[in-house]
Symmetry: C2
Subunit: 399 residues, 2 copies
């Protein structure tokens, strides 16, 4: 039997999905599992999008343009212009989910052996895509105590070597929900300019900013137009995770023409996803108002509920729909598995993502979990009750 | 401005798509362009598939399982069983097009610096995916004179080093249309076993075998069950190129569990594509009979027509819907561009794929083109007329 690649073996398991076998086992035992592990909202996809699918009259489902259907790219460019991001459709490439935008950026801008700096905790799959591209992730620590604010620029500078080619931010942040301030974004701009780095900016949660706080897109930072590569996706914006449509955006022509070669190699993004995404651009504002109101209520309810549980602490995030919570446990990987396999309360349990997978510094995140507030308040209430009881019963409780 | 990767720069341009700007220019001048450059059939997608989309009643378009919707995988496994390929749904991973199956196989089975042997001419994007994975392609020559039959096993053995990890075949072949015989498949089996190699077998044209010739799947070769990794796709089988649904298939558990990690990193394949692909499995046999009859007629018409043009030669392929033709020209890259930019006949012209992009040995394929017989006979007739007139007028004609 041929020996398998070490590249493959080094792929980190997904912290969001690695416990799936335990949740499936729990379900087989008849236990209801609340899925707070994954950013899969229960929010309805806009009607205008669903309608577009039902009304398709294609006779042959053809490849689209490798960069995406032109009418979609043009309409999408107008959406960006409408929120003050000055791009036209040639600055966009439609990708198969935000995931592919990340891959294309890594493959187009970085060489094997290059280093990227990412504030941790960070979206776990950055690690996976970096592994696939042979790129090294250098984590820079942010802390739950200050709500996971941007680490000081000095700390970034300490990590920069001649192999450092990019900084990645996710704003608002997955997994922390942190929203970077204008001041933080400006300090990143200065850093990127000083060291001639790419700034990869993952802005898929742009529409999810709360309490009147404003989202500052990296695309709007003056003087680094050629350094910024933005990742975007319709998955969260329109609750369309399954359509697999994202966007790679950059004013850097060389990056875009290189990325197009990778896009041509995989032929085209999914046709139906593009039809849905294009139709979604007509989603009425009232949809977003309702969704935002819903998430604010869920967040408030969850954060308050978590902080009431003895030994638990979570900050109050300003964006996205995640929060990282500190639990009084020895090892959140063990706890998240235990709560699925050995615990239930009123025949219910909770699936959470152990935070260790969002850190690349060994040992960090061991007493933290990521919780996605993607379920309705009633479900969150039940989940909180399960969590409180589970922490009381867990043999590895620390305080 | 940050310097861009050499990895990116080394990505070869797509031979199928690199002339698109010239074809667009021709169209702007009002010239009708016959697209024989790309394997995009004009064949209708089965009604049962289109119906499935129109009837969806999803409220939230969610992520699917990373390995693909279970009901689809189970039904797909039954399809394979029905054609004598002994797999269950755990031996399958649903991918975003056949393209992603290739990427996952490269990433899961090979390390940067490893070598794969591929009979050339070969599907050009193998080169692209190899580049992305840091894998080196070692081409082994096959020749138009013997219809692009499998090169002798001795030739393979001459190329095998301790870095050689896999052989890739595409059967029936893109770009040549060659269908490997049972004898050729058995000799590949022996070779793979002797040197402990992976056999990557791209079988996306399985349903397109003509004149009573039988397709021998690599999955059926005895004794190398753990060596074989199959790529598959619904794109050609059901004329659904745009849905972007493929499959990675292997009995090798370690390969599949590693590939699943790559699948989890990109979350899931497109939901609507999977719905369509699942429904397509109910396509009636009459659909395939009609399609096959249509392709046989087109092939016969095209091959006969090409061989009637002075100085042109093409073999008669037994499968797929491509043929490689030798033309009396100095350089088919120049010719294929010239015919779009400088030539038209009755206000029509033809887009073909220069064969150089399907070879990785420099200089090979310079007087060859790949022609896809994906258009109806009437269009092929016009295209042949254009080609004949163009060859008469082309300044770089060689004989």
């Amino acid at each position: 039997m041929p020996t398998i690649s070490t590249r493959g073996r080094q792929m980190p398991p997904s912290p969001i999905r690695k416990l799936v076998p335990y949740s499936e086992e729990a379900k087989q035992k008849g236990v209801k599992v609340y899925h707070l592990n994954i950013g899969q909202p229960d929010i309805r996809t806009p009607e205008v999008a669903l309608e577009a699918v039902r009304n398709t009259d294609l006779k042959v489902i053809e490849y689209s343009h490798s960069a995406g259907i032109e009418s979609y790219r043009k309409k999408l460019a107008r959406y960006y212009q409408g929120i003050g991001i000055d791009v036209d459709h040639n600055d966009l490439l439609v990708t198969t989910g935000g995931s592919e935008a990340i891959t294309f950026a890594f493959m187009s801008c970085l060489n094997p052996g290059d280093e990227v700096i990412i504030p941790e905790p960070f979206y776990a799959n950055y690690n996976s895509f970096a592994t696939a591209a042979g790129v090294k992730v250098k984590p820079i620590e942010s802390y739950i105590e200050d709500g996971f604010a941007l680490p000081s620029i000095n700390k970034f500078e300490e990590l920069i070597t001649d192999k450092t080619k990019a900084i990645i931010i996710c704003n608002p942040n997955n997994p922390t929900g942190y929203l970077y301030s204008e001041e933080e974004m400006n300090s990143l701009r200065d850093l990127v300019l000083k060291y001639d780095l790419y700034l990869f900016s993952d802005e898929v949660y742009r529409e999810f900013c709360y309490d009147g706080h404003k989202h500052i897109s990296a695309m709007k930072l003056e003087g680094i137009e050629n350094n910024v590569v933005m990742f975007d996706s319709v998955s969260k914006r329109y609750s369309e995770c399954g359509v697999r449509i994202g966007t790679l955006v950059s004013k850097n022509k060389e990056v875009m023409s290189t990325a197009l070669k990778f896009a041509q190699a995989r032929l085209s993004p999914p046709t139906f996803g593009q039809i849905i995404a294009e139709a979604s651009l007509d989603t009425p504002k009232s949809y977003f108002d309702e969704v935002q109101q819903e998430y604010i209520e869920r967040r408030n309810f969850l954060v308050e509920g978590l902080n009431k549980i003895p030994g638990v602490y979570t900050p109050k995030p300003k964006g996205a729909f995640y929060t990282v919570a500190k639990l009084p446990v020895d090892d959140s990987d063990k706890f998240c598995q235990w709560i699925l396999s050995d615990f239930s309360h009123k025949n219910q349990t909770v699936m959470m993502a152990p935070a260790s997978g969002f850190y690349s510094t060994p040992g960090r995140g061991k007493n933290e979990v990521r919780i996605a507030y993607v379920l309705k308040k009633e479900d969150l209430a039940n989940a909180l009750e399960v969590l409180e009881k589970a922490l009381e019963a867990y043999p590895g409780r620390t305080e």
